[in-house]
């Protein structure tokens, strides 16, 4: 089977790998690099569980052909912590009970990060819009929205 060589930045670290033709970025991250934080939920762009940032923009890794990530910066939940220190979003999710089964959480956190990186003081409507591509089936959106707003408010307080 012909393989394609591919290099990109994964959470700040350069990675080099070989992928089969047609493999998506989600499979490359999970099965080749071993970063299990992005999840498979639908393969169709309907659920957002596989959300990652590519060059700072929110993307669905299951709909991204792996080789189109060549030379770009891919961020996943695995890189959200700063060493042992949780990101404010992670702390807020913990404090606000914003995860139940936890399966949508990696995608939710990346969607929330994409928002706060661009807009540190979002309104509630902006938070709703920012996570509108991410489906949660058990926590409910209210605690998640509250957590994102709390993380944003916390960031402001520190600034």
């Amino acid at each position: 089977m012909p393989k394609t060589a591919l290099q990109f930045h994964h959470n700040g670290r350069e990675v080099a790998l070989f992928v089969d033709g047609g493999v998506n970025l989600l499979v490359a991250l999970r099965e080749i690099i071993g970063d299990m934080t992005p999840k498979f939920g639908c393969g169709q762009g309907g659920c957002g569980a596989c959300s990652v940032l590519i060059d700072g923009e929110l993307h669905l890794s299951c709909l991204t052909l792996a080789e189109t990530a060549a030379g770009r910066a891919v961020e996943t939940l695995d890189g959200l912590k700063d060493g042992p220190n949780l990101h404010p979003l992670q702390r807020a999710f913990m404090e606000h009970f914003a995860a139940q089964c936890g399966y949508c959480t990696p995608g939710m956190l990346m969607a929330a990060k994409a928002l706060l990186d661009r807009n540190p003081t979002p309104s509630r409507d902006e938070v709703v819009e920012a996570i509108s591509g991410n489906i949660c089936r058990c926590t409910g959106y209210e605690p998640i929205i509250n957590a994102v707003l709390a993380a944003a408010a916390g960031g402001r307080a520190r600034a």
């Binding site: 394609t4 047609g22 762009g45 709909l63 928002l115 509108s132």
Partner: protein, 272 residues
């Protein structure tokens, strides 16, 4: 047979690769082709890409805009001159889908998707295509009618007129889930006004037939009239004429027909 990815520097080479291989599909933003591969569609065994920057261009003049097929909805939303297209662009997917999905791909999105194309149909867009034999321009209606046979050609760009005023172009996507959801029905209306009368009305509908279609009876009801309540009522009464919606998990065909007039009335009268 596994999947082979072919990446070309020019759209011409990509178009040639597409036209010579029936199992080839052009990869734009990935929301259609990667989805097909993920669901096990083995009819796709070649994925064709082009890095041609021409596919990502946006050109705006006083009267017309030209948008490369590879332009994403997020880029349209970032472009102030394309304000009239912001509502349709914003109505598609969540932020990730808008960062990925392209104008060219939307032309191929099956019902109930393809909302942006509804707007383009109302705006009488022209599709610039490159086939094995060269480039040609195709009116969007002709393109949509022959869409199933267009896989061997590459869409390069779309162009359309700029509405004369904010009022002249209206768009509405009706979904059950807010802010994001598949379309129950999508409506777009381009209503140029000349000396107080509508002239050259175009109304387009999504999710009301196998492809996006024009509501010609409703257009006729508005033609030559001012946009008053009696004209709006006449258009609303005629909106479902010639449509052939189907039942889906989002709405039944019956429901779609029933509410089409209600939503056209709201669109034309400026109600929320």
């Amino acid at each position: 047979m596994t999947v082979t990815v072919k990446t070309f520097a020019t759209s011409g080479e990509a178009a040639a690769a597409l036209s010579s291989d029936r199992s080839a599909r052009y990869l734009g933003g990935g929301t259609l082709v990667m989805r097909a591969l993920n669901e096990g569609d083995i009819s796709v065994s070649t994925v064709v890409r082009a890095t041609d920057q021409a596919l990502a261009r946006i050109e705006v003049t006083n009267l017309r805009v030209t948008i490369g097929a590879g332009v994403t909805f997020a880029r349209i939303l970032a472009e102030r001159d394309l304000g009239f297209l912001h509502a349709p662009a914003r109505s598609i997917g969540g932020p990730a889908v808008r960062n990925m999905g392209t104008v060219g791909g939307n032309l191929f999105a099956p019902s109930p998707f393809g909302d942006f194309t509804v707007a383009l149909l109302a705006l009488d867009a022209t599709i610039a295509m490159q086939g094995g034999l060269g480039t040609r321009d195709l009116p969007i209606e002709e393109f949509l009618q022959s869409r199933d046979r267009q896989n061997g050609a590459l869409v390069l760009a779309i162009s359309c007129q700029r509405p004369a005023s904010a009022d002249a172009f209206r768009y509405r996507k009706v979904a059950r889930i807010k802010p994001k959801g598949g379309s129950v029905i999508t409506l777009a209306a381009h209503l140029p006004v000349s000396s107080g009368r509508i002239s050259g009305a175009r109304i387009a509908l999504g999710s009301m037939a196998a492809t996006q279609i024009r509501a010609r009876a409703a257009e006729r009801a508005l033609e030559g009239r001012s946009l008053d309540s009696s004209a709006i009522s006449a258009a609303a009464a005629a909106i479902a004429e010639g449509t052939s919606p189907t039942d889906s998990a989002l709405a039944s065909a019956w429901y779609r027909r029933e509410v089409a007039g209600v939503h056209l009335r709201r669109l034309l009268s400026g109600q929320e």
